[in-house]
Symmetry: D2
Subunit: 292 residues, 4 copies
Amino acid sequence: MELGLIGLGKMGGNMRERIRRAGHTVIGYDRNPDVADVHSLKELVDSLQGPRVVWVMVPAGAATQSTIDELGELLSPGDLVIDGGNSRWTDDEKHADQLAGKGIGFVDCGVSGGVWGLANGYALMYGGKAEDIAKAQPIFDALKPEGDSGAVHAGRVGAGHFAKMVHNGIEYAMMQAYAEGWELLEAVDSVTDVREVFRSWKSGTVIRSWLLDLAVDALDKDEHLHGLRGYADDSGEGRWTVEAAIDNAVPLPAITASLFARFASRQDDSPQMKMIAALRNEFGGHAVTAAE
Amino acid sequence: MELGLIGLGKMGGNMRERIRRAGHTVIGYDRNPDVADVHSLKELVDSLQGPRVVWVMVPAGAATQSTIDELGELLSPGDLVIDGGNSRWTDDEKHADQLAGKGIGFVDCGVSGGVWGLANGYALMYGGKAEDIAKAQPIFDALKPEGDSGAVHAGRVGAGHFAKMVHNGIEYAMMQAYAEGWELLEAVDSVTDVREVFRSWKSGTVIRSWLLDLAVDALDKDEHLHGLRGYADDSGEGRWTVEAAIDNAVPLPAITASLFARFASRQDDSPQMKMIAALRNEFGGHAVTAAE
Amino acid sequence: MELGLIGLGKMGGNMRERIRRAGHTVIGYDRNPDVADVHSLKELVDSLQGPRVVWVMVPAGAATQSTIDELGELLSPGDLVIDGGNSRWTDDEKHADQLAGKGIGFVDCGVSGGVWGLANGYALMYGGKAEDIAKAQPIFDALKPEGDSGAVHAGRVGAGHFAKMVHNGIEYAMMQAYAEGWELLEAVDSVTDVREVFRSWKSGTVIRSWLLDLAVDALDKDEHLHGLRGYADDSGEGRWTVEAAIDNAVPLPAITASLFARFASRQDDSPQMKMIAALRNEFGGHAVTAAE
Amino acid sequence: MELGLIGLGKMGGNMRERIRRAGHTVIGYDRNPDVADVHSLKELVDSLQGPRVVWVMVPAGAATQSTIDELGELLSPGDLVIDGGNSRWTDDEKHADQLAGKGIGFVDCGVSGGVWGLANGYALMYGGKAEDIAKAQPIFDALKPEGDSGAVHAGRVGAGHFAKMVHNGIEYAMMQAYAEGWELLEAVDSVTDVREVFRSWKSGTVIRSWLLDLAVDALDKDEHLHGLRGYADDSGEGRWTVEAAIDNAVPLPAITASLFARFASRQDDSPQMKMIAALRNEFGGHAVTAAE
């Protein structure tokens, strides 16, 4: 089938390639003319035969909003927009309503796969009406990994991004789990080969996983990670997961601890621990350490 | 080679079978005569040719201690004891010293594998002197899974149990990660098929793992886990992980949160939340709920 | 001076009384005619001489919004609206802008005091322009406790509710601190008189506080809190505190743990712990407990 | 009455002074001859009339153990030893048993008061037999603050140190509560006067406390705590509190989070966050920050 793809960055570019390898036609647009097949959204839309399917793969927030606004003007009733970016699930219903007013369908799709997706396939979680999803099914089939799993119709509009967001929240806590264990093993004298302990866990253990494999890969490059700073960004989806939990009164202690550990990792000095130090000094005369 | 194996419960019985399948001779002793090959520790020791290798697979604590005490009386210089149970790493050095006084070697070995070990192999983490480990290497090779990983000489005496303990701590937090994500997905209306979301994650995602596969198996049996109570025991190793972290001033927020969630799961009513309710009533006149 | 007061519930009614005791004129409106001085917002506004000061003390959200909408129609340029309810700080700027378009001033004011405020005074945290705050200063002075502290101009519009929200977040964690300590003391045999331990802490300790005094009052009524369920609501401000922390990448582990403990206290059974139980059964054959 | 006091450091020296001001005789021993009244434990014991009461106020662990060992040799049946140091509660029963074998009584006493105790009195929590506590009651009365509270017979031997330990655990979480709130207030632009917000909370709020007063004192010296590093030691009792919670399967999320925040504050770089950074790079190609 024919797909319009907007956004050809690290993710979008590889996705175009994987879809083409499956035999489909992809017309890609990007603000960067070096990678784009067409030079404007209008040209993209004009070059597709109706009913059109257009996949939006641009940064969440303003860029996605303006793309959807513009597509609302350019597309025709019966066409379909898929938001495959990292939009917050709460935006999806707004986008669906906005486009529904013009007879245009909408599907949200969370995509996991990172730099490995081109070769291994992209895990897809999508939300929307069954008839809209049916229109895009060949593309989903091209993108997903081989085998029975790797793609799911998670529910109504918004469910795709919600499921992907929760995936990332789980990812935060799994990474934190390995990281805590690694630090503890490194902290004791008796364990002399932490990297090989991690490698041994790849078979037969309860905690074997793809993330564990990656941890071993990282340790093979730098056994004690001496070359790295303990500094971790967060991409928004961990934050949204905690916010969704608060909205639903669901306790998420491990995921939230993992998010907070990232926040703390980015502080040169901890304001709250300054207050702890100040209080200890006030009541107990405990020594404080001067700021440099 | 020839091995004496003490303790033929759920784990030990299957381990005997797996070692025998690899062509070794195993003489097993258990207090339960129905499963035992010999009827006393003395008979076990007498039936092995020196230098002997004896694997202890009994409950941690008093049972392990009394077995090691007895073996110290029965074995000869040059023999080797392997503690493959779930002993706390701090016991290992004591046991090693106790046996070293009699010229008997000691290796501690953490074993992971549960009900899957017979078929798939047992992941092994062992600690001790290289020469002692060499004596048991054929047994380790028989027990471990196929392939390059699944067994490690983690370090000095105690390092095996320490590594296994940290494995379990990581396991706690990974399970908690999936469990938190599952509860959040179940809590929202838009996601209509949580089980299939979990299944989809088995391929192409960052969070694919053996534990995820098991989660899908569990959901296939009982889609919303309606048949279960949210009640989880803990086996000791999660507690020891947190204690080891405290000893080493290593922060373990996610693993500890996972342990505490289990503690809370076993309380019919939360004493601390009674105090919260009482305080809210005192300062704000907020309604309280009477105990039933 | 003269004040219009909208909302005469548990808080508003007592505040009217305290302001009157200080010699000011308060005209109160409430939907409940039994407590109201006037029968409509219009009558309230008409009965005040300009420039008017009107204090809104109604539930946050829709009730506050519709009151401010209506006041925007009824009031005149130069008048002032104070929102003393529990509005989210993000609403304040919207309300200020809405009223500024009509020449009406706006101040937000967080109020703490609960059932104790009438006698002891209400702690006030307000945000807005200095000239607007000056108009209401006699009312603030009447409401606040005796002495040097108890009221603050915290900053710009929104700062009052933000400061009050953080106050409540701190309150959550302080209550949790005492509650955790109480549960631990109750759990051990050696401490035979936990209530008296709490009472002893009222003097000379680092942890003496008004909340501690209230805890002792509660234990004097019910030594082991046997009459209460461990069930705690949350009023929204704890949630907003965590959301504000996420917006600002500030780690709040203790406050968030306190919020999550309340969420968990309201669950009859924990979905996430069902998943933990299910996973333990899958990999280890551990017994599960059937739901009743 | 007459008291032997061993250990005349920051705490012990001031306690000697407070007891003397109450009209009692105190003979103090310290390894530092500049502050000691006698030059050996033997001289101390010889200078007291039987039945003697000896208060040990030396560092927990080896120093306390060796003092108790020596007193066991020097004292006579019917004498009483009080351990007023920061011993772990698990040591108390051992010490009591050790001395009971010689007919010597034992009371453990947790002491709170820090640099403020001389003027305001020391909060005391003691454990032991009623008849032993009666022997020391005049000393407890001299040390404690004025008024009805400030001292408690908490229970059996060990209960005093246990109660003091829990006091410190609560203290950790209360300090953390204020510190988190302070950091959040400092993080937002709208709140322009965080110090005055804190000061305002001293009256009429739910969170007023002595620790809050100290926080204001600290902010009066250094409004944004720019002069301090966010580095906080821990004295052992927070760790023991968490260990006691683990022993008793009591969840302590806020207290434990507070302890872990201190651990993290002392790390120049976080090993676990290096692992997080490494994993993000492996699966997503996310940029990492090189160590300096």
